[in-house]
């Protein structure tokens, strides 16, 4: 059974051309997509594996990742999974009624998609990538041709080996309130005793295309679940893209809650056109090493990007978030707010860069990173960067690292709270200031519950 989750004898480090071609055949992909995969595969083989000496990967565990021991997951079969992943059930309790639910469950090898009538009648498409390749060939081909942004070993790996994937398309002037929910469930080994020589690698892909003056809410949950299988997920390398046309608005809430053995590499790219808005929130709540790059490319006047982060580390977890706010046009604005709290031995490195191109006059950019150290051995690095090539700009950033404020603690304990209760209240408040700005209904409660759980977990 465990073998069925993997593509036989296909290692991630050295992939033969035929294997990539096999993958195309299995997915029934057209030639133009096969060419894309093959050209990514070629670049992938040439691209060196990053090391901690690369500025982008400093203070990460990238050196511990052995691609030679990884096998890509086999394509998922469409069908209802036996049980709904626990975190999805929890999310659905808090969220407003979703417009669509898309599940990729690598634990059971199944995927499913359910779209409400409200969305279908509005001609909103929520479909597995393989189907979209046929139904939205022209759109996808155009999006693939336009590609820009940072490429690295893992994005190329994803482009060459992406399994299924989700495609969302929102037509002009269509405003959808009910969120599209995506659940990615990865298998985790129940016992770590039996050492498996190889682990599972998954390559999720999401493309969301929002036409002029349309809007959509998107919730993405990435979690792992203990299974009886001997197979264990070691690497998830995902690429998530948002193409946001003039006047459109996309709100995103992304939740990562992975087990202590999973290495998660994530690249988010948002292309934001004239007067369009991306409101992106991410929560890092678990994983061996989370490495997430969030690129927002403001391509035309009036474009705006809000990027918010809540990272709560425990145990020996590691986080590396990197925000890249590129102002490629005049009169664009960005606001980045990242809050990190670290328990135990957990470690975080936040890197953020605001790039202002020569033409991007009247840019207004703000970047804030606050770190709260709770564990004696916790580590927080912060590198907020600015590269400014225009002159008529307002760019600033602020970063702080500190433990729980003693005066606040004192004040609360004076009012009768125990020290742990007081600390809990302060941590909750620290996150709440970011959570309150997430515009998707119900996400606040969902995340508040998750952070609270983690706070109590020792």
């Amino acid at each position: 059974m465990s073998e069925s989750l993997q593509v036989d004898n296909l290692q991630v480090s050295t992939i033969a051309r035929e294997k990539v071609e096999d993958l195309c055949r299995l997915n029934g992909e057209p030639n133009w997509l096969k060419d894309k995969r093959l050209s990514a595969w070629e670049s992938y083989l040439q691209c060196p594996m990053p090391t901690v000496k690369d500025e982008d990967w400093r203070a990460t565990l990238v050196g511990k990742l052995d691609l030679g021991k990884l096998c890509p997951a086999a394509p998922l079969k469409e069908g209802k999974t036996a049980s709904t992943p626990a975190l999805l059930t929890a999310a659905l309790k808090d969220l407003a009624k979703p417009g669509a639910i898309y599940v990729e469950d690598y634990a059971s090898g199944q995927m499913s998609v359910a779209v409400e009538a409200e969305l279908s009648t509005a001609k909103v498409v929520v479909s597995p990538f393989a189907q979209a390749v046929e139904s939205h060939k022209a759109v996808l081909e155009k999006l693939f041709a336009e590609k820009r942004g940072i490429q690295d070993k893992f994005t190329l790996m994803n482009e060459a080996l992406a399994g299924g994937g989700l495609f969302v398309h929102v037509p002009k002037n269509t405003r959808v309130e009910a969120p599209v929910v995506m659940m990615l469930n990865l298998p985790e080994k129940a016992t770590t005793a039996a050492k498996d020589p190889s682990g599972l690698a998954v390559f999720p892909r999401v493309i969301i295309n929002v036409e002029e003056n349309a809007s959509i809410n998107f919730v993405s949950i990435v979690a792992s679940e203990k299974t009886a299988e001997a197979t264990e997920t070691v690497l998830a390398a995902s690429v998530v893209e948002f193409h946001i046309a003039a006047g459109a608005k996309v709100s995103v809430a992304e939740v990562t809650n992975l087990g202590p053995e999973v290495f998660f590499v994530n690249r988010v790219r948002a292309y934001v056109a004239r007067d369009a808005v991306i409101d992106f929130s991410t929560a890092g709540l678990g994983g061996k090493q989370t490495k997430s790059d969030i690129e927002t490319i403001l391509m035309d006047r009036g474009a705006h990007a809000a990027v918010k982060g809540v990272v709560f580390g425990g145990g020996a977890e590691r986080y590396a978030y990197n925000t890249i706010a590129e102002h490629a046009a005049p009169d664009t604005t960005s606001n980045i707010n990242f809050r990190v709290a670290l328990k135990d031995k957990s470690a975080s490195i936040y890197q953020g860069i605001v790039k202002v191109d020569k033409v991007a006059q009247r840019t207004d950019a703000y970047q804030s990173n606050k770190n709260l150290l709770l564990g004696k051995e916790a580590k927080a690095d912060s590198i907020p960067k600015l590269e400014i090539l225009a002159d008529d700009v307002k760019c600033s950033h602020g970063a702080t690292v500190s433990p729980v404020d003693k005066e606040q603690l004192f004040y609360l304990t004076c009012r009768g709270l125990t020290a742990p209760e007081a600390e809990e209240l302060i941590v909750t408040g620290f996150f709440q200031q970011v959570l309150d700005t997430i515009p998707i209904q119900g996400v606040v409660n969902f995340l508040a519950a998750l952070t609270s759980d983690k706070l109590h977990k020792s």
Partner: protein, 480 residues
């Protein structure tokens, strides 16, 4: 009006258009008159020759040769302005020049051509009036050196580094290269191999040196590298303020300046090191400056960067004893074709240590300023407090400003703050000043002076005046 004079001095009256405005205020140079000038390029023989001419002890020669090996092996840095760095041709540089006279004690005895250089800079009178000792470095060796009697009475040693090594070998050997080892980086290795000149200061326990000690550095010969080596040791409870200022004549090809400056502040000592760097626009200024502050000690770097083609300089303070305090206050001004890549590093290696970094930069006329900094807190360095503030002004659309701060915090009980802003000169401020009758140029110059004020107010008066004048010169005709 020295700018006008310099123009009149030109033999040919018909200046080409693109030369106008390029005349560097201090861009005159004397005819070369040297006793010894090493050949171009860097070899083991040259290093041995430098050491032999200086009659150095064997350990220093060994140190130099080891450093040369390290320099040859180390790759060029792959960060910063790589393009400019890779333009340096190490084989086309003179590594040692010995000037035509020995160190002098009296100003009157200094040869005229060197005096002229200093006179045109307006230095010596001011110094005599205001300042204690003068170590004027002309080329690679100190030519003028005077220590006021009361300094000698206090037991303060203020020598050029070569004399320091000769006369106080024990002290030098104990401290030399303990703060910046040769292998620290490619340019510290280069300096360690070919160093010459610089200052050596030793302040006895409990002695407070009331008047700032200062030295002027000049580069004179074409393709001449200056590799001065400064070592300042402040014994427990002492205080010293050292001032380093630079101006250099303009030459057509590039000059390399790669100093190593080591400061050691022993328990309770206080060192302040002030630099005003105004090398001409063809100089590479790749400097390693680092201080160690022991228990209760205090170190301040006050660092101004106006000149040079490329400056890469990140004054560092290692806070190694409890309650040590470090401050870096810096300004950078980058004009056409200049890149000021400056910053600060503070390493908190002990509890209750505190630090402050304030960095101000202005880019103009296509210039680029970068702030690159590091705050590192080691485990168990409890109750560390650190605050970093970077402000940048951009004066036109051609210029560029970068901020690359790094914070690595491995201890929980700390308070670390970082803030940075980048903006242009405020329209409201300009409007206000212009409505009071100032021209746009005057108003902008006034705002720029105000922007740098936290820096200038830390300088001795005559330096503050000189700096304001320099900024005004830089600002002339920049707007409108």
């Amino acid at each position: 009006m020295s700018r006008a004079e310099t123009k009149e001095d030109q033999a040919t009256p018909d200046l080409s258009l693109n030369e106008i405005g390029n005349d560097y205020k201090y861009g005159f140079h004397d005819e070369e008159d040297y006793i010894f000038k090493s050949g171009r390029g860097l070899t083991r023989e040259i290093v041995e020759k430098i050491s032999a001419m200086k009659k150095e002890p064997q350990w220093m020669l060994d140190f130099r040769l080891k450093a040369l090996d390290i320099f040859m092996k180390k790759p060029m840095p792959t960060w910063g302005n790589c393009q400019m760095l890779n333009d340096i041709d190490f084989q086309n540089i003179f590594y040692y020049i010995k000037p035509s006279m020995k160190g002098e004690k009296n100003w009157e005895d200094v040869p005229d051509n060197i005096k002229n250089t200093f006179d045109r800079l307006g230095i010596p009178e001011a110094e005599r009036k205001f300042l204690a000792g003068v170590t004027a470095q002309y080329e690679s060796e100190v030519v003028y050196h005077s220590i006021r009697e009361d300094l000698e009475a206090q037991g303060v040693i203020f020598l050029d580094m070569d004399s320091g090594l000769r006369e106080h070998e024990a002290i030098v050997r104990e401290h030399f290269a303990t703060v910046i080892p040769a292998a620290d980086n490619k340019f510290s290795a280069l300096n360690s191999a070919v160093w010459s000149g610089g200052s050596f200061i030793w302040v006895p326990p409990g002695v407070k040196v009331e008047i700032p000690l200062q030295a002027y550095f000049r580069i004179n010969a074409e393709n001449m590298g200056q590799f001065e080596r400064t070592l300042i040791i402040a014994e427990p409870g002492s205080f010293v303020h050292y001032i380093e200022g630079c101006t250099a004549p303009v030459y057509s090809s590039d000059s390399l300046h790669s100093a190593v400056v080591e400061l050691i502040a022993k328990p309770g000592a206080h060192i302040r090191y002030t630099t005003i760097q105004n090398w001409s626009r063809n100089v590479y200024n790749l400097v390693t400056k680092r201080a160690v502050a022991h228990e209760d000690a205090k170190v301040e770097w006050v660092d101004g960067n106006l000149g040079s083609k490329l400056t890469m300089k990140y004054p560092a303070i290692y806070l190694m004893g409890p309650r040590a305090h470090g401050e870096v206050l810096s300004i950078a001004f980058a004009g056409e074709d200049q890149h000021q890549d400056a910053g600060a590093k503070i390493i908190h290696g002990a509890p209750d240590t505190t630090s402050i970094i304030v960095s101000k930069s202005i880019s103009k006329n296509g210039g680029r300023t970068s702030y690159r900094g590091l705050i590192k807190v080691y485990p168990n360095a409890k109750n560390v407090k650190s605050s970093v503030k970077c402000d940048a002004l951009l004066l036109d659309e051609k210029s560029r400003s970068d901020t690359y701060p790094t914070m690595e915090i491995d201890e929980k009980e700390v308070s670390i703050e970082h803030e940075a802003t980048v903006s242009k000169v405020g329209e409201e401020q300009l409007f206000y000043l212009m409505s009071r009758g100032l021209t746009q140029d005057e108003a902008t110059a006034m705002i720029v002076n105000g922007f740098f004020e936290p820096f200038t107010k830390e300088l001795p008066l005559e330096y503050a005046v000189e700096l304001n004048r320099l900024i005004q010169l830089e600002m002339e005709g920049s707007v409108g």
